[in-house]
Symmetry: C2
């Protein structure tokens, strides 16, 4: 069986994701699609709208055959670590290819860029430093240095100012670095840009736009045309049983308590908290009744919104990089769910997989897995919904979803 991997968050699953899965299958002639999916906290440093099991069901009902959890430490990390974790898992799952959506749409510019940047590593880094010394921000310096290095060459290179191209580049870098067997493939992203609001005349909207519409309107029906019916059904089921959706707004009382309880030194020790921002975070938490107020106080040119949110995620979950060795690698394949087709693939490949398959968490002792379990529990507590009967320990109780 031929397998193609995708890296997803599905927060929530929408028509764009549906297109991505369908096209990935078609373009690579795959028998099965394996998704590596973030757990309950996402790369933008946010709690997921609905938990990983709900999102797994959405994926399985819309074309994905196996869902593997991307462990917390990768799912909430910056792009290079995120990509390294995801590609390692897809490689370990014996995928033949991985397919990502990009603004670019063809793979050659990515590989060419990788070659140029790798062979001219030193010149590139020096150039970045020079631009930063001139006062440019890191992303801007990166772009300028990249433009300098590629401008005199007679090939087309990938535009690394576009968000999905950047992520795609990191996937390729990860795969090439680890000399992976897995082949990179890309498809063109269509219609919605990353942050675009929902436009009722389009049937593809960004997940950010969908979340915004959901929190503002409160009604799920308005989302009908932007997602498969199976996904909408999952959201409706969640709303019935849990009643609230995950967001920092919802988690704010607990996050605020966590910040104020911490000493300044302690705050500074969490992953990505650097350069004195802990003082600002502490004072802003004291003064802010809502998450919005808090972010207005903390946000500055120096840090992106996403970067700040990732700090908050780590503060909320108590995660410190120092508890792990540098650049940890994935150590297990946690199956969140599969179709019968996925099950067939797994029994076929089981013996060749280079990482242990985890379907029963209780039977496994692993420091990365412990972090995932804690993050799940703290996510459930953040929802603080009186409708949830068994908010914590779900990782121990939930077997993989089988469709």
């Amino acid at each position: 069986m031929k397998a193609t991997g995708v890296v997803v968050e599905h927060n929530p699953f929408h028509n764009g994701h549906f297109y991505h899965i369908k096209e990935s299958r078609k373009k690579t002639a795959a028998d099965i699609i394996i998704a590596v999916m973030s757990g309950n906290f996402l790369q933008r440093g946010e709690p997921a709208l609905v938990d990983k099991w709900c999102r797994t069901e959405m994926a399985l009902k819309a074309g994905v055959d196996i869902v593997i959890e991307l462990p917390y430490v990768f799912a909430t990390a910056q792009a290079s670590d995120f990509a390294r974790g995801a590609i390692t898992l897809l490689e370990a799952m014996e995928c033949d290819a991985f397919c990502f959506g990009s603004e670019e749409g063809t793979i050659e510019p990515f590989t060419r860029s990788y070659e140029v940047l790798t062979t001219q590593q030193e010149a590139y880094q020096n150039s970045i430093k020079q631009y930063m010394n001139l006062g440019l921000s890191y992303p801007k310096a990166l772009n300028e240095a990249y433009a300098d290095i590629t401008k005199d060459l007679n090939f087309s290179f990938v535009d690394l100012s576009k968000p999905n191209n950047i992520l795609g580049y990191h996937y390729i870098e990860a795969a090439f670095h680890m000399k992976a067997r897995i082949q990179p493939v890309t498809i063109q992203r269509i219609v919605a840009n990353y942050h675009d609001d929902v436009d009722q005349n389009q049937s593809i909207a960004s997940a950010t736009g969908i979340r915004k519409a959901l929190f503002e309107e409160g009604s799920l029906e308005a989302l009908e045309k932007f997602m498969p019916q199976t996904s909408l059904d999952q959201l409706l089921k969640w709303k019935d049983s849990v009643s609230v959706f995950g967001s920092w707004q919802q988690f704010w009382p607990l996050l605020r308590h966590t910040i104020i309880r911490s000493s300044i030194q302690d705050l500074a020790s969490f992953a990505e908290v650097t350069e004195g921002i802990e003082h600002l975070i502490y004072e802003a938490a004291k003064e802010s009744e809502t998450f919005e107020e808090f972010m207005i106080r903390v946000k500055s040119k120096r840090y992106t919104w996403t970067r700040i949110q990732r700090m908050l995620t780590h503060i909320y979950t108590g995660f410190k990089w120092e508890t792990l060795k540098e650049h940890p690698k994935p150590t297990y394949l946690r199956v969140l769910g599969m179709t019968q087709n996925g099950q067939k693939y797994l029994s076929e490949k089981k013996k060749n997989l280079s990482l242990p398959l985890v379907s029963r968490v209780a039977a496994t002792k692993d420091s990365l897995l412990e972090i995932d379990i804690r993050a799940s529990d703290l996510y459930q507590l953040g929802l603080q919904s009186s409708k949830i009967n068994t908010p914590v320990g779900m990782d121990y109780r939930k077997p993989p979803i089988i469709l």
Copy 2:
């Protein structure tokens, strides 16, 4: 002006406290009564029913002239540290006497016990160890050793199996150890025992009984005959403005989140958490939806309820003894409120006080005071009442109450 000190929690202020204040004044012919009062967390390891300002008003309206805050580190410590902190503050306030309620009722048995136990320190400690080796718990071993040491002497000694006698003994020990000028005085406690439930035929009930009645009945009117009208008015005002009362039940979502977010190693580092109980605390928090469930899981013969609650208090507030040097001493006199009589006393004595007076927190930098401020903030967050407009930073905004 002659001042007598009392050590109080007033959680809430009731007729027994009223009697204590009145008798202390009478017995010592005091012009003013100075109360050292615990802040928002109490010696039994619980959040106070109402905050320290509300309790200060209760005290001032019922006969107390000055309320000084007992800093968090003493207020939530075991009896000997609690007593040392309180007596140090009363001595620093230039009190002539301190007066405590006891089952004993006269002071000589206390001082005699102190003398015997101090002169026979070594024999006493050895005897305790022997009894513990026989399998007795520490409090029981203490009682047996004490009985052995006093049984052949022709004096009456204080019965150190009674809770108020024990606390009184610690006050006297603290005062004698520090060679304080302040004189110990005791009055007999009347009627209610510490844990007695409210009996509608008595007009004195224990604070524990009153709190129980309050949480069970939900109506404050039933408490009318057990407390001065001024105290009941304060409780009614609190209920109107805050709507909930402080309790671990109320604080459970935040406490639970805090425990689950912590690593086992981290839990073990909080004050009083020893001997592996951190594992039990962690697992019980995961399994328990309510504070009651949690305590049933954690409680064992090994630890008293109070001891466990003190651990929880420190986990909740993030307090670690290691951040302080051993056996810290009070470093300031934080005035929570005073009557005009109290003000007169302060302006008379101001220049002689051995510790700095703090009425504006923002102007003072002190590590013990920072702990108090954090504890206040975390108390307010624990109430989680949408009715509170300014839940944190109250220490900075509230000037001393002047009646």
